[in-house]
């Protein structure tokens, strides 16, 4: 399992970059926070500090919003034709690709994410997302309308204005790009608050934004804490829209603050307790791989992670055995080591929380098949953990753990699986593994969740909208639909005289 506990210490080259950008990025410049305060960011491999970062608070958010407001109201950005915005966004995408190693290393360092995956998949995907929306900038259409009287009517889709973007620490760069790319394409300006756990990659990207030649104030980054900088954004009277990805608990606070301040529209991507339904006609080997990846991907720090595995009784025993086998071979170790499949959890708080859920699971009566402990003396490494005989009423079956903990649950019929899959306040994603066309079609329509994966899991695509039902949030990211979040629809009406048609 863990590299260290396999008893082999091997050499691998760790490219730890110099941390170059630690200040707030406001109006095209890196500046200290108004208060002068800084905060520490930690390396989860060891618990040691990496760097100190300028800590933004209400006054800093104010400055950023002022800059973004000026850039929107009077600056060139929204006045550029779509192809003008496209050009700069494409330039930024090129710069991201040119600097992929440094960005990947910063993120691996702060978040404990796998370096090779970041370098080969995640960061390139961020650049590709940027290109997707760059190509959409000149394709934002309103409509001319079928009015029922002598009227000319049409809609204009206008940029909504200054957008606040609050992102979490599990996919720092990707989530930032997913949000600001459509906002910029639409002609908006943004103020980003990255998670206090993972500010470095956002600040490095700010540097690239400047290098790409974006006008000042279009893109601003204010690192800081949720209850200070984040809250300042949610309750700001001059921010036109806020988009948040994070926990359901904090999502609620964002929405309340938005309502209490200026009623800014809000979109929320929150937590999930996502069911993965495995029917007994599924191939066990393939199913085991999909289940494992769905549950352990990114050390379980994935809002769509398959945290409830509903397995049909016909293959329950066989699949459980296979899963334990694979989990025990799963390599936990330093995220810079190319052999590692699972790095450390992001910080002490998450680490403690996951371990306490594991204890809870045992206490509630679930059977621990494998794992359940920390992997090493230092750092926040946890063994891939599998519980069986998990019952729907248990807290480990209801609450989001956000760690490498797999809960196996048995079902008899598809109807039962659907009911149990839907019996949650969440509704982010779900998976179904089956060869049967009818089951696939029925289940995909019956589960109340924003993404349904059939015979695959956690597959994301730039063109495919993503988001939640119920308390997993509302609004969609990715795809052309995401643009709607950053646009206002204006109807324009004029009377007509003697029109030959209506």
């Amino acid at each position: 399992m863990a590299i260290e506990s396999n008893g082999k210490k091997t050499e691998f080259s760790v490219m730890i970059p110099d941390v170059k950008f630690t200040k707030l990025f406001i109006n095209g410049n890196f500046v200290d926070s108004v208060s002068g305060k800084t905060f520490e960011t930690i390396d989860p491999r060891t618990g040691d500090p990496i760097a100190r970062i300028a800590e933004g608070d209400t006054e800093d958010v104010d400055l950023a919003v002022k800059a973004a407001r000026e850039a929107f109201d009077n600056g060139p950005w929204p006045r550029l034709p779509g192809q003008g915005r496209r050009r700069l966004m494409m330039k930024l995408a090129d710069l991201i690709e040119q600097n992929v190693e440094e960005i990947a290393a910063l993120e691996a360092l702060e978040a404990g994410k796998l370096y090779s995956l970041l370098k080969n998949m995640d960061i390139p995907a961020a650049a590709e997302t940027l290109r997707y929306y760059a190509g959409a900038a000149d394709k934002i259409h309103g409509e001319t309308l079928k009015m029922s009287r002598d009227l000319q009517g049409y809609t204009l889709c206008e940029p909504i204005g200054v957008v606040g973007v609050i992102i979490p620490w599990n996919y720092p760069c990707n989530l930032m790009f997913i949000k600001f790319a459509p906002a910029l394409a639409a002609g908006c300006t943004v103020v980003v608050k990255p998670s206090e756990e993972t500010s470095l990659s956002a600040l490095f990207c700010a540097h690239l934004v400047k290098e790409a030649g974006f006008p000042d104030g279009v893109f601003n980054v204010v690192p800081g804490y949720g209850h200070t900088a984040g809250a300042a954004i949610s309750s700001h009277m001059d921010i036109d829209k806020v988009t948040f990805t994070g926990s359901t608990k904090v999502g609620r606070l964002v929405m309340v603050a938005a309502a209490k301040s200026n009623l800014k529209p809000v979109s929320l991507e929150l937590g999930g307790k996502n069911p993965l339904i495995v029917c007994d006609d599924a191939d066990v080997e393939t199913a085991a791989t999909i289940v494992l990846l769905g549950s352990l991907w990114n050390k379980g720090e994935l809002c769509v992670s398959s945290s409830r595995i509903l397995i049909q009784e016909g293959i329950y025993e066989e699949l459980s055995k296979k899963l334990v086998e694979k989990a025990q071979k799963w390599v936990v170790g330093d995220p810079f080591d190319p052999r590692t499949q699972q790095g450390p959890q992001v910080n002490q708080v998450q680490f403690d929380k996951i371990l306490s859920y594991i204890e809870l699971g045992k206490a509630e009566g679930a059977t621990l098949l494998t794992g359940g402990k920390r992997c090493s003396e230092r750092g926040f490494y946890i063994e891939p953990t599998i519980f069986t005989d998990v019952q729907d009423h248990m807290r480990i079956a209801k609450e989001e753990i956000f760690g490498p903990v797999i809960s196996l649950m048995k079902f008899k019929t598809i109807e039962e699986a659907i009911k149990r899959a839907n019996a949650t306040t969440y509704g982010l994603a779900a998976g179904i593994l089956t060869k049967d066309l009818n089951i696939a079609n029925t289940v995909s329509r019956s589960i109340r969740a924003g993404s349904i994966w059939i015979n695959c899991y956690a597959v994301f695509d730039r063109d495919c909208p993503y988001g939640g039902y119920k308390m997993s949030g509302f609004g969609r990211d990715l795809g052309m639909k995401a643009l709607d979040q950053y646009l206002q629809v204006k109807a324009v009406v004029t009377p007509l005289y003697n029109s030959p048609w209506l």
Partner: protein, 423 residues
Amino acid sequence: MAAYERQRILLRFADLVEKHNDELAALETWDNGKPYEQAVNVEVPMFARLMRYYAGWADKIHGMTIPADGPFHVQTLHEPIGVCGQIIPWNFPLLMYAWKVGPALACGNTVVIKTAEQTPLSALYVTRLLHEAGLPPGALNVISGFGPTAGAALCRHMDVDKLAFTGSTETGKLILELSAKSNLKPVTLELGGKSPFIVCEDADIDSAVEMAHFALFFNQGQCCCAGSRTYVHEKVYDEFVEKAKARALKRSVGDPFKQGIEQGPQVDSEQFQKILRYIRSGVDSGATLETGGDQFGEKGYYIKPTVFSNVQDDMLIAQDEIFGPVQSILKYKTLDEVIKRANKSAYGLAAGIFTHNLDTANTLMRALRVGTVWINSFDTFDAAIPFGGYKQSGQGREKGEYSLKNYLQVKAVVTPVKNPAWL
């Protein structure tokens, strides 16, 4: 390959075109005769712009999921239509290539394109760049040849899935016929026009004269959408004609490679002779020749910028597409009258309206049976704006999201759903 890959190829292609901007422009001017400044500053950059526009569509081509009346899961797949035959004219060789090849490739099709025999060179050059950008062999094939041979062969071909043509209405009819007689391949046509340019009584005369002049004389008058019937309200008619004549006299004609030249030669001898014949017919039918009227200089196919006034609707020069630097000015009294007269044409490609009045603009824009209405502007050809004709000016639209329709087939896929939770 994934749509994203197609996008990257088209984007790299646009970058390469920019790198070779000047060479391409020179080639275009040499083959076609258009002023070099126009090619190098406007048309070749526009080509790159169009490619980038279409590249951006490649990964966003959507079908729909559709509500049925019963328990069915219904989706439409928008699939590439297949092998696209494309036949382009000589008046904007590179841009016409972009309007056709761009959407066809972005949608995942393969192409066989026949260029005009008058202007085969720039297409060959850019096609090589497209392959340098990574286009797989066979995806785009360029045939230099003549209409009755190569062009007709494409139209007749049983294994070409789609035909797109830009050219004369006369040839367009042949294309449609051949396509019908062979394998019923769907056809889009961008044909001729005799587009009205309407100057209202509240127009600012100087701007109107300049815009009307540009609308007709641009590209040596060789534009399918040239504003070739200039309708001027009687209140401002005399002043307009005076100024239009003066502007035409100022138009600089000469070697297109020289700086500051506004008008180069017509593309070939056939066009040259045809235009001179129309000028003679204008004179013969009683229109007033204000200026110009014959060849410019001794050599080549240069024609003096020509202005006719007192043109009547029934004159040949007011009905036929001349495709040369011959402006025809007609007088009108009322809006209703000019609408009727403007619409009384077999063509319906474009129209220009010159007025400040909101209601006049709204009325005219709805009443004119044409594919593009330019208000206080002309020849604005941004990549996202669809372009095409009503009536005998053609069928289908190019550019913009509309162009994708031409290169996709729609397949409906229907599966029953058991126990649907909703319908």
